[in-house]
Symmetry: C3
Subunit: 116 residues, 3 copies
């Protein structure tokens, strides 16, 4: 029975869950008031922080979903993504429009990564 | 070659698929005519039923997505979720708006869990 | 440390990522100008091609998400899906509405499958 380790665990969700060599991250968002590019930067920073907490990093991301409150902002998100994603280690990704839990949130990034 | 076991398997989809110690659930919904809180209760009941069928339970959920037909109903969904999710065992979660396959469906819950 | 293998890997994403006996596919879409049935056929063809590249096939799909730009087209998508999905091997599936990265894209299919 492989153990389950929950990180930054709250009463509603955990920000990261580790099981059998994989870490599953909760959807990461930016800060209200930031534009979509800056929210993407903030969300990806949180991804980096949680991956580090789990003992891995962005070179080991397996899959990602990107949800945009307004999909016509995809180019702004992609510009930040493209500067962040490690070349030679790009994950499988899907991107679509989904309004988020508060109208101030413009982007949410959901990541699954392998541990080393 | 780890076996794949499919539960409640129909011609379009299976409600649960087990492989290598993980169970992947199909999106679970409530009943048309119920409000979003009651549909959340029904969907989470189905999650419980399918996890039991797979030999596990809600303390071993790794990740979840919650899709709301109208994301402004998130508080009603969360009230039901918060009463249901086992403290100390909360999964990674992402929540967004997605209209569902019939206008009567207000919420869909997608869960991945570990077997014991 | 299980290796990660990335297939059809570009600077933004990889079309398939293999790790520990699982292949994660990027969201597959059809061609602009096609109707939703034909875009579904094209996307599922790409799924077949990527699964073959990974050394597996559609009888070993674990889970799928289907995102429709207009969820009222679900019946057209399902007709193509039902003809394609192998009986006795249907995956866990969730279907919802999500506008896609260009208005010409009508459907996106996201698949996770087991290797043999």
């Amino acid at each position: 029975m492989p153990a389950i380790t929950r990180l930054d665990s709250g009463p509603r969700m955990s920000q990261a869950v580790i099981h059998n060599g994989i870490v599953y991250l909760a959807g990461q968002v930016g800060n209200p008031g930031e534009d979509v590019a800056q929210q993407t930067r903030t969300a990806l920073s949180e991804v980096d922080r949680l991956l580090a907490l789990a003992g891995t990093d962005k070179t080991r991301i397996l899959s990602a979903q990107v949800w945009l409150a307004d999909v016509t902002t995809v180019a702004q998100m992609n510009a930040v993504w493209d500067a962040w994603v490690p070349q030679g280690h790009t994950p499988a990704r899907a991107t679509g429009e989904s309004k988020l839990v508060a109208p101030d949130y413009l982007v949410e990034v959901i990541v699954t990564a392998a541990l080393p």
